[in-house]
């Protein structure tokens, strides 16, 4: 990344999990990292990350309460600038989630977040560990047809209404969206910041988007 222009990555801090690992990974890639807690923090950013760990309803409520949602919406929809959702940060982009009751999402990428069916023999929940991600569209430096192992830790999965939004798939009893995309928005169910070399490559690929 040495020759590429300066990147300033903002990580939205809305009290939904650990931002440290994501910040460390972008720091490792040579970026300036800004923990975004107020609107003024958006100044000078080139890329934005929406993280999220925990229950969907808890995360959605905290994002609304944070006061940052209007600025995130302007960034991602009005200005069409690069946004990366990670884990529940990806799920929040959906229309709704059924985790612990029905909760509305942002509806930026149509689909529902549903519990992965665990009935199949040998399939345990939560889905914890390294699983094969098959890219079906060019995404964050990966090309269609490429497969790589990434680290997952979740119970609910994103099921897209429009297959054109599916960037990558993964199978755990059922096939679900491992990554989704729409124009300037990309999001991953897996944790790139915890996926060693493959994850750093994914994050570097996101940084290459403008």
């Amino acid at each position: 990344m040495a020759a590429s222009p300066r990147r300033a990555v903002g990580i939205v801090d809305y009290r939904a999990g650990n931002l440290r690992s994501i910040a460390n990974a972008f720091d490792h890639l040579g970026c300036e990292v800004v923990i975004v807690t107020r609107e003024a923090d958006f100044d000078g950013l080139t890329h934005l990350v929406l993280p999220g760990v925990g229950a969907f309803g808890h995360c959605a409520q905290n994002l609304r309460d944070s006061g940052l949602l209007p600025a995130v919406t302007r960034w991602a929809l009005n200005d069409a600038r690069p946004l990366l959702g990670i884990c529940v940060g990806m799920q929040l982009l959906a229309d709704a989630s059924e985790e612990l009751g029905e909760h509305a999402g942002l509806g930026w990428i149509h689909g529902r977040v549903q519990r992965l069916p665990a009935a199949e023999r040998g399939v345990r929940l939560p889905h914890v560990g390294w699983n094969t991600v098959r890219f079906v569209a060019a995404t964050a430096g990966f090309v269609a047809g490429e497969s790589e192992d990434f680290y997952f830790d979740h119970t609910y999965g994103f099921f897209c209404a429009d297959p054109r939004n599916i960037a990558a798939e993964c199978t755990h009893g059922v096939t679900f969206a491992a990554a989704v995309r729409r124009d300037n928005i990309v999001a991953a169910q897996f944790h790139p910041e915890k996926s060693q070399d493959a994850g750093l490559r994914f994050l570097a690929g996101f940084l290459a988007s403008t």
Partner: protein, 262 residues
């Protein structure tokens, strides 16, 4: 298909070096006979270079988790220098302890004695942080009284049966169960396969088997005979002329789905 996992377990103890308290990496045998082996963060970086799938840090002093706790310093440094999942525990009492560990670099939290004293801790932690974040660690021994769960670092017996407690912990919201047979800890004699399998077959969450790995074959047995999703080992990776990469090759050759890195 989700891959089976090899997890180095890093046991930590406080040592006063001059005026500074630091955590050192140790191994144990039967939760006693503590041997100091080095610096935990350096070792974590070595494990990452060897493609370990995940790391578990356990503070065996079980000292309180407070903002100045040396355990948090280890986690912060490990999380800034490795890019892999980290579970941490030892001394976890409250959901505030979960929050401190997570804020300092852990992705998951191992809870043991406190979950037995108050099982609602599992439910409360799962509601706040998600079940995927809650690892219930169960230490047990087989003795003349049968199989019993022990707390306080293996010192205090409880009336609980390890299999029944694992089933209950999973029902309360544990996302994973870490099982350790205290008598086999550091022995190299192999895993307690009957108990591991009994738990794995009765819970739907992943089981991490630990205690007794002395040969690469023992990992294969944990997966194929014990039905474990992951096998954790401390002494094996610290002392033997073995590392996660070599072990991975053995496991793969036995036909177990595992991440391939060469």
């Amino acid at each position: 298909m989700v891959k089976k996992r090899l997890i180095p377990k890093l046991l930590l103890k406080r040592r006063r070096l001059g005026t500074v308290e630091r955590m050192v990496l140790v191994t144990t045998r039967g939760y006693e006979q503590v041997i100091e082996v080095g610096d935990p963060v350096s070792q974590a970086k070595i494990y990452e270079a060897q493609f370990a799938d995940e790391l578990i840090f356990l503070n065996i002093d079980s000292s309180p988790i407070e903002p100045q706790a040396p355990l948090l310093d280890v986690l912060r440094r490990a999380a800034s220098e490795t890019f892999m999942p980290i579970a941490a525990g030892g001394g976890v009492r409250t959901t505030d302890d979960f929050e401190l560990l997570l804020a300092n670099g852990a992705d998951k939290v191992c809870v043991n004695s406190a979950a037995i004293a108050d099982p609602s801790l599992i439910e409360r932690a799962a509601a706040i942080f998600g079940a995927q974040c809650v690892v219930v660690s169960i230490d047990y021994r087989h003795d003349a009284q049968g199989s019993r769960v022990f707390v306080d670092g293996g010192r205090t017996a409880t009336p609980l049966d390890p299999i029944e407690w694992a089933v209950r912990a999973a029902a309360l919201g544990a996302g994973e169960i870490l099982l350790t047979d205290i008598a086999r800890d550091g022995s190299g004699e192999g895993l307690d396969l009957p108990t591991i399998r009994a738990v794995a077959d009765r819970v739907s969450v992943p089981v991490i088997a630990s205690g007794g790995c002395g040969l690469a074959r023992h990992f294969v047995e944990g997966f194929l005979d014990g039905h474990a999703e992951a096998v954790a080992a401390g002494t094996f990776f610290c002392f033997r002329d073995q590392n996660p990469m070599q072990t991975r090759a053995h496991v793969r050759n036995a036909g177990v789905p595992i991440r391939v890195k060469t």
